[in-house]
C-alpha cells in the first residue's frame, strides 16, 4: 500500500528566552553589548517541541494522535500542514493537504455568509469552481439558509461555528489534518462533526486526527500515536494506545491514596484535595471494591480560606474515556453552605456500586464550574472486582457490559 504521509526524523526546536527571540529593537541592541559568553549561554535555551519523529500513514488510514498538552501534537500538525518549518527531518506528502486547526479560519465579520464561504474555502485550499458546485450543500449543512446574505457579525456564535464546519466538511483533500475542532460546540453539533469525519474515512481519505476525546479517537481511528515530550511514546492499535495513555495519568491504589503530591491539577488553589479513602458504610477501609458494594468515598481537603456554597464532584470514566457518571452535591441537593478554613472531608456515599468488574478512572473537582478551587482529572484508577452479588455462585463479569442492574428473572406461565 502506498503511503500518503512519510515522516522521517522530524524535529522542531523552539528558542526560548529573551536574547534568543527579542521582541523589540531595544533588546536587539542591548544584545550586541552583552558579553559574548553570556549571549551564547542564553541562546542555548531551546526546547525540542518534536524530536526525531518518524512514522508513515498509508493512504486511507485515519491515524489518531494523543498526548498531553504541550507534548508536541499541535507542533506536529503545524509542521505537516507547512505552517511552520522543521528544524530537521523530512515530510513527504502524497496529494493535496488541508489542515483544519480551527473552524472558520479567516472569517470576516463584515462579510456575508456566502462571501465567507468563498473566503474560508479558498483559504482552506478549495478551488473556486469546487466552492461554486458545493455552495448549496454547504449552506444546507450549516442550516443558515435564511441568513446567507447577512453579514456574519449578525450571526450567533453557534451559527458561525456551523458555517465554519460546513465549509471544512466539504473539503476534498487527499490528506486531512484535524486538530481538536470537536472541542467546541454543543453535543448535537459535535455529533454532526464526527459523522462528517466518518464520511471522510469511508471516502478513503487519509486523516490525521488530534483530539482529547478518547471515545472519538477509538471510534474513528484504527491506529493511534501517543506523543510524549516531543517523541513517539507508542504507536499501535488505538485500543492499546488509548489504554496505556489513560493509565499514564493515574495511580492505582486501594484503601486510600495521597492526592497532595499530584501535580497535574488546576484550579484557583483556595482549597485542595489531600487524600481519598475507600470505606464501607461503617467507615472501615475497603481493601477490595466489588461490584454491588455499598461504598463510601471520603475526600479529604484542605481549605486555605473559609468557603461558601461548596461544590464537590466525582466523575467516573472507563478506560477508554467514556464518561459513566458525573455526580455532584449540587445535583443531589446536598448543599454545603459553609466550610471553615483548615482540613475537612466530604463523603460520597454510594448505596449500590452498579459497575461491572474492571478498571475505572476517577476525576475529582472542588468548586464551581467557572472558577474551580481544585480539579484533578483522571487522577486515579479503581479496580472493581467481580462479586457474587446474586448469591448464585456465578459472579458478575465484565463481558456483560459497563454497568449491571440489580434484577431478577421471573418465568411466566403459558398464555
Amino acid at each position: 500500500m502506498t503511503n500518503a504521509l512519510e515522516i522521517t526524523g522530524l524535529s522542531k526546536r523552539y528558542q526560548l528566552g529573551q536574547s534568543a527571540s527579542p521582541d523589540n529593537i531595544r533588546e536587539v541592541i542591548a544584545g550586541w553589548f552583552r558579553r559574548p559568553r553570556n549571549r551564547e549561554k542564553s541562546q542555548r535555551k531551546t526546547l525540542w517541541a518534536l524530536r526525531d519523529v518518524s512514522f508513515n500513514v498509508p493512504e486511507g488510514e485515519v491515524l489518531g494522535v494523543v498526548g498531553r498538552n504541550g507534548a508536541g501534537k499541535s507542533t506536529l500538525l503545524k509542521l505537516l500542514s507547512g505552517i511552520t518549518h522543521p528544524t530537521a527531518g523530512e515530510i513527504r506528502v502524497r496529494g493535496r493537504v488541508a489542515s483544519l486547526l480551527e473552524v472558520g479560519t479567516g472569517f470576516h465579520d463584515e462579510l456575508t455568509g456566502r462571501e465567507n464561504i468563498y473566503l474560508n474555502g479558498s483559504i482552506l485550499g478549495m478551488p473556486k469552481r469546487e466552492i461554486d458546485a458545493k455552495l448549496d450543500q454547504i449552506v444546507d449543512f450549516a442550516g443558515v439558509h435564511d441568513f446567507i446574505d447577512t453579514p456574519i457579525k449578525r450571526y450567533s456564535s453557534g451559527m458561525k461555528l456551523r458555517l465554519g464546519f460546513a465549509v471544512a466538511a466539504h473539503l476534498d483533500p487527499d490528506v486531512l489534518l484535524v486538530d481538536e475542532v470537536l472541542a467546541v460546540g454543543d453535543a448535537e453539533f459535535q455529533k454532526k462533526c464526527l459523522n462528517a469525519m466518518d464520511d471522510l474515512r469511508s471516502g478513503g481519505r487519509t486523516v490525521l486526527f488530534v483530539a482529547h476525546n478518547m471515545a472519538a479517537i477509538e471510534n474513528l481511528c484504527s491506529r493511534t500515536l501517543w506523543i510524549d515530550a516531543g517523541r513517539i511514546r507508542m504507536d499501535g492499535p488505538t485500543h492499546d494506545v488509548v489504554q496505556a495513555y489513560m493509565a499514564s495519568f493515574a495511580t492505582t491504589q486501594h484503601g486510600s491514596a495521597d492526592l497532595e503530591a499530584i501535580e497535574s491539577r488546576h484550579g484557583n488553589g483556595e482549597a485542595r484535595f489531600t487524600r481519598i479513602e475507600f470505606l464501607d458504610m461503617d467507615g472501615s477501609p475497603l481493601p477490595v471494591i466489588r461490584s454491588g458494594d455499598r461504598l463510601r468515598i471520603r475526600l479529604h481537603y484542605r481549605a486555605f480560606k473559609p468557603l461558601r456554597d461548596v461544590m464537590v464532584g466525582i466523575n467516573i470514566h472507563t478506560e477508554l474515556g467514556t464518561l459513566l457518571t458525573a455526580s455532584n452535591n449540587w445535583a443531589t441537593g446536598d448543599d454545603i453552605p459553609y466550610v471553615e478554613r483548615g482540613d475537612g472531608y466530604v463523603d460520597w456515599v454510594v448505596d449500590m456500586l452498579n459497575l461491572q468488574p474492571g478498571r475505572y478512572y476517577l476525576s475529582l473537582w472542588l468548586g464551581r464550574w467557572d472558577n474551580p478551587q481544585d480539579v484533578l482529572k483522571n487522577c486515579m484508577t479503581i479496580d472493581i472486582e467481580s462479586s457474587d452479588y446474586y448469591g448464585s455462585g456465578r459472579g458478575i463479569d465484565s463481558r456483560f457490559g459497563l454497568i449491571f442492574m440489580p434484577c431478577r428473572w421471573e418465568a411466566g406461565g403459558r398464555q
Binding site: E59, E61, I83, R96, V97, E115, I123, A187, P372
Partner: protein, 313 residues
C-alpha cells in the same frame, strides 16, 4: 478496518473534569469497513510534496495559490468601506483634502513654486502616487500581524498578505486617478496624451510600495517597533519626496542624491505626465534602479524569514 469498534461508539467529551459531559451516540450507521481505502477516486493524480528544512520552490507555488490571492484582494476591497456613509468616495476625499490644505498652506501662504502648474493640479498629481504608497506602507506593513490568525492556522505563501494589501489599494488609486482629469479641466490645464503614461508609471510605483511593504511586514513580525515606525516614516518620507515642492527646488548638485529616493522619480514623472511635460530621465532613471534594488531586498528578506513567521508572530 475497525468495524468492531463501532458498537462501543459512545461519544464522550471529557473536556473539563468538573463539567457536565455529554454522552451521545456518535454513529448510528454501520461503516463500510471492507471498502478499499482510496477507492473513491484512485484516478486522481496525486502529486508528492516534500517538506524539508529548506522549503519549497516559490514561483510555481504562487501560481498554485492564485485563487487565494484573488480572494484576499477581494476581501480587502469588500471590507474597506463597509458601514461608511461616503464609501468609495473616501478614495478621492483623502488626497483631495490634503490637496486643499497644501494649496492654502504651501501654495498661497508659503508661495512655494509649482513650475507654472495651478497649485491644485500640482499637488493632486503628486499626492496621487504618494497616497497609494503611504496606504501600502501601512496596509502591507501591518498585514501579517493583523492576520496572525491566518498565519498560525493555515499554510499559504505569506507574501499573499502584503501583496493583497498592495493590490487592493490599487482600486482606491484608480478611483482617485479618475478625478485628476476633472481637476485639470476645472483649472484649465489641457488634457494631453501624457495622461496615458500614468497607468504605465503605476507599475514601478506598485512595485516599490510592495518592496518596502514586504520588508516592513517581515520586520514587523519580529519587531513590533515597526508598527510605530510606519506612520512617522511615512510622514518624514513625504517631505523628502517632491510632493509639496517641485524637484527644481532641490539644489542642482543634490538632485542625483534626491533621485535615489525611488519616490522622487515616480512623483516627478507622474506630475510631468499629467501636465504633458517631458519626463526627466535624470530623476526617473536612478529611481527605477533603486526600485529594483528595494524590491529585491524586500523579497529576499521576506523569503528568508517567512518560514519562521508562525513561530514568532
Amino acid at each position: 478496518m475497525n468495524g468492531s469498534k463501532v458498537e462501543s461508539g459512545l461519544g464522550v467529551v471529557p473536556t473539563a473534569a468538573g463539567g457536565v459531559a455529554d454522552v451521545d451516540r456518535v454513529s448510528d450507521r454501520t461503516i463500510p469497513s471492507d471498502r478499499a481505502p482510496g477507492a473513491a477516486d484512485s484516478r486522481r493524480e496525486r502529486k508528492i510534496y516534500v517538506v524539508r528544512p529548506t522549503g519549497f520552490g516559490r514561483l510555481a507555488e504562487l501560481w498554485r495559490f492564485r485563487e487565494l490571492a484573488f480572494f484576499l484582494v477581494w476581501r480587502e476591497v469588500k471590507i474597506r468601506y463597509k458601514q461608511t456613509i461616503l464609501g468609495a468616495a473616501w478614495a478621492v476625499i483623502q488626497p483631495l483634502f490634503a490637496m486643499i490644505v497644501f494649496t492654502v498652506l504651501f501654495g498661497r501662504l508659503a508661495r512655494l513654486p509649482s513650475e507654472g502648474i495651478p497649485y491644485p493640479v500640482f499637488y493632486y498629481a503628486g499626492l496621487l502616487p504618494w497616497t497609494y504608497f503611504a496606504a501600502v506602507l501601512s496596509g502591507a506593513g501591518n498585514s501579517l500581524i493583523q492576520n496572525s490568525q491566518l498565519v498560525t492556522k493555515v499554510y499559504f505563501p505569506r507574501v499573499l498578505l502584503p501583496a493583497a494589501s498592495a493590490g487592493a489599494a490599487l482600486l482606491d488609486f484608480g478611483i482617485a486617478a479618475l478625478f485628476l482629469p476633472l481637476l485639470m479641466l476645472l483649472y484649465g490645464v489641457p488634457l494631453g496624451p501624457g495622461l496615458l503614461l500614468i497607468p504605465v508609471l503605476t507599475v514601478p510605483l506598485a512595485l516599490v510600495a510592495l518592496g518596502v511593504g514586504l520588508l516592513l511586514s517581515a520586520l514587523n513580525v519580529n519587531y513590533r517597533d515597526v508598527k510605530y515606525v510606519i506612520p512617522f516614516l511615512t510622514q518624514l518620507w513625504m517631505f523628502l519626496t517632491p510632493v509639496v515642492y517641485p524637484v527644481t527646488l532641490i539644489p542642482e548638485r543634490l538632485r542625483p542624491v534626491a533621485a535615489l529616493n525611488p519616490l522622487t522619480g515616480i512623483v516627478d514623472a507622474f506630475r510631468a505626465a499629467a501636465v504633458g511635460q517631458p519626463i526627466s530621465w535624470q530623476t526617473l532613471g536612478p529611481s527605477l534602479l533603486v526600485i529594483a534594488v528595494v524590491l529585491a531586498v524586500g523579497v529576499t528578506y521576506f523569503n528568508r524569514t517567512e518560514r519562521y513567521f508562525a513561530d514568532v508572530i
